[in-house]
């Protein structure tokens, strides 16, 4: 494999991991606007462990996933009971906070970041993708996967059927954060250099777009969206500074023609704004 092909495969693989991780949260109907926070937590955790403590990368990746999962559970616990708008605001602020903290923290290089991480290989990335895909296939056939969908559809109906919706959604969010953290670790050890700027709103938006482009109904829609969106800038680099404008237009066109994304049925995979949160709904008290 040429080094160019290898770099492409690594980048696409990591994007797919990010998309799949994000999709786990989305499958419960929860949209985060700060998943880069988990990516950053994963990237920095792994980099500290491999550089300063000489951990092998796979072990450091596990620690990254765990650290991101803990952060995801905490944020989820605070925000998931609230409406979509609050979740969006809290996750966005959290990612900004993480960004600020790492850019002020001398130990991890502050604004200039960390340098010298290596070890991300094609088998490692593809292995991770495979594990996550296997997990998602099992999930989609399981009782838990059904519970995720039920929560996405109607939280009050799910509660009435005896689902502990907050606990289930927090679990999904933590799993989602863990996968994103592992992707962050892999990304850091591919790029060799990380700094806070890499984990800003641009990257957060990109992760959301993977899912929206591919369609949120099936996980492989999100994966396909990630493949498409990470290949385009590589093969269309001749567009230079125009490429963001061209992408923007492409997206607008897509959302008009196929609001459900590339994969998914019409009226099926659209992002649906949730009802006003349960319990605070306009009541006919009768």
């Amino acid at each position: 494999m040429s080094s160019f092909t290898e770099a492409v495969v690594l980048q696409v693989g990591i994007s797919v991991l990010l998309a799949l991780g994000y999709w786990i949260a989305v499958s419960t109907g929860k949209y985060s606007f700060g998943h880069t926070a988990f990516m950053a937590i994963g990237a920095y955790t792994a980099s500290i462990l491999t550089l300063n403590f000489s951990w092998p990368l796979p072990l450091a990746m596990l620690a990254s996933g765990a650290a991101a999962a803990v952060a995801g559970a905490l944020i989820g616990w605070m925000a998931l009971r609230l409406s979509m708008l609050y979740l969006a605001i809290i996750t966005f602020i959290f990612s900004q906070l993480v960004n600020l903290l790492i850019s002020q923290w001398e130990y991890v290089g502050g604004a200039s970041g960390m340098i010298g991480m290596t070890g991300t290989t094609v088998p490692l990335v593809l292995g991770c993708v495979l594990i996550v895909v296997a997990y998602l296939v099992l999930l989609s056939r399981s009782r838990l996967g059904l519970a995720y969908k039920a929560i996405r559809e109607d939280e009050r109906a799910a509660t009435a059927s005896g689902l502990r919706i907050t606990r289930i959604a927090v679990g999904a969010f933590a799993t989602s954060a863990a996968v994103t953290g592992v992707a962050g670790a892999l990304s850091a050890h591919q790029l060799m250099v990380i700094n806070p700027e890499l984990f800003g709103p641009r990257q957060a938006l990109l992760i959301i777009l993977y899912c929206v482009l591919g369609g949120v109904e099936y996980f492989w829609g999100a994966a396909l969206g990630a493949v498409a969106l990470s290949l385009l800038p590589i093969y269309f680099d001749w567009l230079n500074e125009w490429y963001e404008i061209v992408y923007g237009l492409l997206f607008v066109a897509l959302m008009i023609v196929r609001p459900q994304g590339l994969i998914g049925r019409r009226g099926g995979g659209r992002i649906r704004l949730p009802r006003i949160p349960a319990g605070r709904e306009r009541e006919s008290v009768g």
Partner: protein
């Protein structure tokens, strides 16, 4: 085994509401095993609030709820489902993008015994053959009457001792209202204990064994359905307190 208690649900002096608004001031209701009991009253009388406080959807402010002799006041709704009390919220809340079968399986979420879930699914399909025909169809594409069947079927998947139905006739055509009530009547005839909240007094009383009339958060009349139907003051009270 302990002898079965006659009363399955005993609600005593329940108080509940939303924020600072009291919906239910003082309500005591009893449901005996095998009964179909209706809580009737005008819009705003607090009927749904009673049901929500009983089923753990909201926390009661005071009073007590006992299921089968066990105090379950303020218990989490998932534990109440496991204890045998399942609430069908108003407004036919099907899970629109899930199939009919998936909807039903969500109803059995608290049960881990696969063969038992399988059997419950067959039972619901036997009761509602139209759901069997449409088992692979998205629930959002069903008609209003079929959706009402589905949400009741979903509740039955948990094999409840007590089924709580919140305004099952809401928003249905008169023809479908009759169909839904016939369905509830059949359920009760098969031994299912039901507590029903209903704004449609005539239909509610026609279906139920006993009724409670709620006005402004208090029980203002109660008794056998036949007695209540014969009482003209009930109708007057109902209209007089309407919004």
């Amino acid at each position: 085994m302990a002898p079965e208690r006659e009363e399955l649900l005993k609600v005593t002096n329940l108080r509940a509401g939303y924020g600072r608004v009291t919906g239910v001031a003082d309500v005591s209701v009893e449901v005996r095993r095998g009964e179909l009991v209706a809580v009737l009253g005008p819009n705003g009388a607090g009927k749904s609030t009673v049901l929500r406080a009983v089923s753990g959807m909201i926390r009661p402010w005071g009073g007590g709820v006992a299921l089968d002799g066990r105090d379950v006041t303020g218990m989490r709704s998932d534990l109440l489902v496991r204890a045998g009390m399942v609430h069908v919220p108003e407004g036919r809340r099907v899970l629109p993008r899930l199939t009919v079968e998936e909807n039903l399986r969500v109803g059995a979420f608290t049960r881990r015994n696969r063969p038992a879930v399988r059997a419950a699914l067959d039972e619901v399909f036997d009761r509602f053959p139209r759901l069997r025909d449409r088992r692979a169809q998205k629930a959002g594409t069903l008609s209003g009457g079929e959706q009402q069947m589905l949400v009741i079927g979903r509740a039955l998947m948990a094999r409840p001792k007590l089924l709580l139905l919140d305004e099952p006739s809401l928003g249905l055509s008169p023809l479908l209202v009759r169909e839904v009530f016939a369905m509830i009547r059949t359920l009760a005839a098969d031994g299912q204990t039901v507590l029903l909240v209903e704004q449609n007094v005539a239909q509610g009383l026609a279906a139920a064994d006993r009724g409670y009339v709620l006005t402004a958060g208090r029980v203002t009349a109660s008794g056998a359905s036949a007695e209540l139907s014969a009482d003209p003051s009930l109708l007057r009270g109902y209209l007089g307190s309407g919004e």
